[in-house]
């Protein structure tokens, strides 16, 4: 039986608590928040036997096996280390840490203490992403991945988030090195990091404040980001983050020499782009039928899962899969659901992106249309080796 605890009793903590309760081999033994009212309310609602306002006291008294750290990222390093020192493994919500140096330190301490950690990249484990992983490991794409495209959008018009972030100049998200981007893009970047085989990664970034943010006087926040990523094995990727694209899309495309895949995470749809040629006009008639059949197949798969009570909303099912896999790794020495290399690579790509766009921001203020007017020579290249 895994004894789980949660540190940081805000909105994310609720999502974790709901999923932990679904795991029969786990029980919540404690929650902790610097604000006693917040700790108490979650303990009451989820019938957790103990609540604390001090992490050290919680670790000493409750002796959890796994601690879910759902505090703002500024505290992840310190809290993570406390957990490891106390012999507990840790699920650390995204954004994992403030920077790669902190991420590396966490991994080092966890290794040193013989405990495990994972990052809150639950979007990696939606049904569609799991299916993509199965197809990829079955060799659908061919012997290697040539290119990837990760599109990750965010609806900044969401009143709750806009209220919290845009209305509060001291909001913790604004104080992150990558500000809004750092809090959101890790899901989309982690998808790329999973399939980058090399260690010498080159990142080219450009970013700007959208016309929407400029209009409401929030031009200090960058909400449009484009990345071009390449490793020494000639695997390339393009990452797009936008708050202005409608509908707000979350898609991932993998291109290989044998075939390609399109993952539409919003609708839990996976499409195969088969390497088949049709003669003459058949190329305009047969492939649409093939796609139609694939869409029907996706529909049947989703409905089937729903009927079997195995669908749930993608982020929730991803969170449950990740937590369950992590617990198995902790309890039964199974492989980690997210290798440390992938966590660190995600962090390194993000660091490189933030470094470049922050430098651009300081060099030249954004123009009124929100477009970065610098020529292509203004884009930075950073080699990560």
């Amino acid at each position: 039986m895994i004894k789980a605890a949660i540190v940081g009793c805000g909105k994310m903590a609720d999502q974790h608590a709901v999923q932990i309760q679904k795991i029969g081999s786990a029980k919540m033994v404690a929650v902790c928040d610097a604000e006693p009212l917040m700790a108490k309310q979650i303990a009451e609602r989820f019938h957790v036997p103990a609540w604390f306002t001090n992490v050290d006291e919680m670790l000493a008294a409750a002796r959890p096996d796994v601690v879910h750290v759902t505090t703002p990222p500024q505290s992840h390093l310190a809290i993570g280390k406390k957990c490891f020192e106390a012999g507990a493994s840790a699920y650390i919500e995204k954004p994992f840490t403030l920077n790669t140096a902190d991420a590396e330190e966490l991994v080092d301490v966890a290794n040193c203490k013989g405990v495990k950690l994972t990052a809150g990249h639950n979007a990696q484990f939606t049904h569609a992403m799991n299916q993509m992983r199965r197809l990829t490991s079955d060799g659908f794409l061919g012997e290697r991945i040539v290119h990837m495209e990760s599109l990750y959008c965010y609806e900044l018009g969401d009143p709750a988030y806009a209220k919290a972030l845009l209305g509060d100049s001291d909001h913790w998200v604004r104080n992150l090195p990558g500000s809004l981007l750092q809090n959101i893009i890790s899901h989309g970047v982690a998808r790329i990091a999973e399939f980058m085989t090399g260690d010498r990664i080159v990142v080219q970034a450009t970013g700007f404040s959208s016309p929407f943010l400029q209009k409401i006087g929030q031009s200090d926040i960058i909400d449009e980001l484009r990345l071009i990523i390449r490793d020494e094995n000639a695997t390339t990727a393009v990452f797009t983050f936008s708050s202005q694209i409608s509908p707000s899309l979350h898609q991932f495309r993998l291109y290989g020499p044998k075939g390609s895949l399109v993952i539409d995470d919003d609708h839990q749809v996976v499409l195969h782009l088969d390497n088949k040629e049709y003669k003459s006009y058949l190329r305009f008639f047969v492939p649409p039928l093939v796609f139609a059949r694939q869409y029907v197949g996706n529909l049947a798969r989703n409905v089937g899962r729903f009927v079997r009570n195995d669908f749930h909303l993608p982020n929730e099912s991803g969170l449950l899969t990740l937590i369950r896999s992590f617990y198995q790794s902790v309890e039964h020495a199974a492989p980690l659901p997210i290798p440390y290399r992938e966590i660190l690579l995600t962090s390194r790509i993000m660091d490189a992106a933030f470094e470049q766009i922050n430098a651009l921001k300081q060099e030249k203020p954004m123009q009124t249309l929100g477009l970065e007017t610098k020529s292509s020579g203004g884009n930075r290249y950073r080699s990560l080796s």
Partner: protein, 381 residues
């Protein structure tokens, strides 16, 4: 100690002087003819730019108050307050932008304040979000109130949604004697949960620290500024309006009338520790409301849904949600169905008796004003 205070004569505020109710912890006999704050006293209104809050500010100004500090969340452009300042002049209205999660903000806004109208609330979809922005913010503000030491009344705005009507028969009276619902989590009602916890904290400060408070629970507040059909009438389901209220009385309160009651709750002497509901007179039935809406605002397709059928649907949804591990979250459940769609009657006798309040705008006139506004919005859209 004598204080200048406002006395109502022939419905108009008149400055008078005499012994005033003291600060924290001192209660006197109810006396509706005396008001515990004078026109020069500092008033604080939190959530002042909101739907009800802005009408509270307007009502205070109309009553001659000249020092009204309005706290707004930094997120919103204080459009309502801007209009009020344009209408009444800017001198009496001090707009402060800040978040009650900051204790510094709480301490700052409490400087010199004698009456607090606390309308700011967490209106979110999650339990922690509502709790944080209702209960934690209120605790922060109350700490500042008790530190300031000169507050004569803390008016806590709660909601009719916190009551349980589970033990009431259909058609029974939902009033201040009804218990607070202890199953708000099972009801999946984060807003009501946040409000109930906020009330608990206020009562605790009253008990342990002598906070002079009243708790006001408005019903469904409506009026120009809110064009949507209240949820107690029914819900929009994929373009078809499911009429759930049918013959139920709607616990409506017109925003102007509601604001008047709230203002009096802060000023009336001798009512510390009281809790009362605010609904108007002549409450219409749901079908009357909907009929008028269709006639005066726009035609909409509606399907009447009997309570028993909707209850059955909620029962089935609730059971499926529990069985499936919330594959469908329990947004529909028997508790919510009962709380919002069981036929009840509502009383405003306590508010009238304590405050000497009477809704100035008749229900018919209020409905006409609402419909005119909603129609305007439809035309604009």
């Amino acid at each position: 100690m004598n204080h200048a205070y406002l006395e109502e004569r022939d419905g108009e505020p008149v400055l008078a002087s005499g012994p005033a109710e003291s600060a924290v912890g001192f209660a006197v006999q109810a006396d509706r003819t005396k008001l515990i704050a004078g026109s020069e006293d500092q008033i604080l209104v939190t959530g002042a730019n909101g739907f009800i809050g802005s009408w509270v500010v307007r009502t205070l100004l109309a009553r001659g108050f000249t020092k009204i500090r309005c706290l707004t969340r930094g997120t919103s452009t204080p459009a309502n307050l801007d209009r009020i300042r344009a209408e009444f002049g800017a001198s009496g209205v001090e707009v402060v932008s800040g978040n009650l999660l900051s204790r510094d903000v709480c301490a700052k806004v409490m400087d010199g304040v004698v009456i607090v109208y606390h309308l700011a609330a967490g209106v979110e979809k999650t339990f922690p979000g509502c709790f944080l922005n209702s209960a934690v913010t209120t605790r922060n503000l109350l700490d500042a109130v008790t530190s300031a030491g000169n507050v004569r009344r803390f008016v806590n705005i709660s909601s009719l949604a916190v009551y349980s009507n589970a033990q009431l028969r259909s058609g029974g009276a939902l009033d201040e004697t009804c218990p607070i619902d202890t199953r708000l989590v099972e009801r999946y009602d984060p807003y009501a949960y946040g409000k109930a916890k906020q009330d608990e904290i206020v009562r605790e400060y009253g008990r342990l620290r002598g906070l002079p408070y009243v708790i006001a629970r408005p019903g469904v507040t409506f009026g120009p500024g809110k064009a949507k059909i209240p949820g107690r009438v029914g819900i929009d389901a994929f373009g078809v309006f499911l009429h759930l209220g049918l013959g139920n009385r709607m616990p409506l309160t017109y925003v102007e009338n509601c604001a008047e009651a709230i203002v009096l709750a802060g000023l009336t002497a001798g009512i510390n520790g009281e809790e009362f509901n605010i609904v108007d007179d002549d409450l219409p039935r749901s079908r009357t409301f909907l009929r008028r809406y269709k006639r005066k605002v726009r035609r909409i397709r509606t399907i009447p849904v009997p309570y028993s059928l909707f209850y059955l649907f909620n029962f089935a949804w609730e059971k499926y949600s529990a069985w499936s591990g919330a594959q469908l979250p329990p947004v529909f459940n028997r508790g919510t169905c009962e709380a919002y769609y069981k036929s009840q009657t509502f009383s405003n006798q306590k508010a009238k008796s304590l405050l000497g309040w009477h809704p100035r705008v008749s229900m018919s006139e209020a409905l006409d004003r609402f419909c005119a506004y909603a129609r305007e919005r439809v035309v604009k859209a």
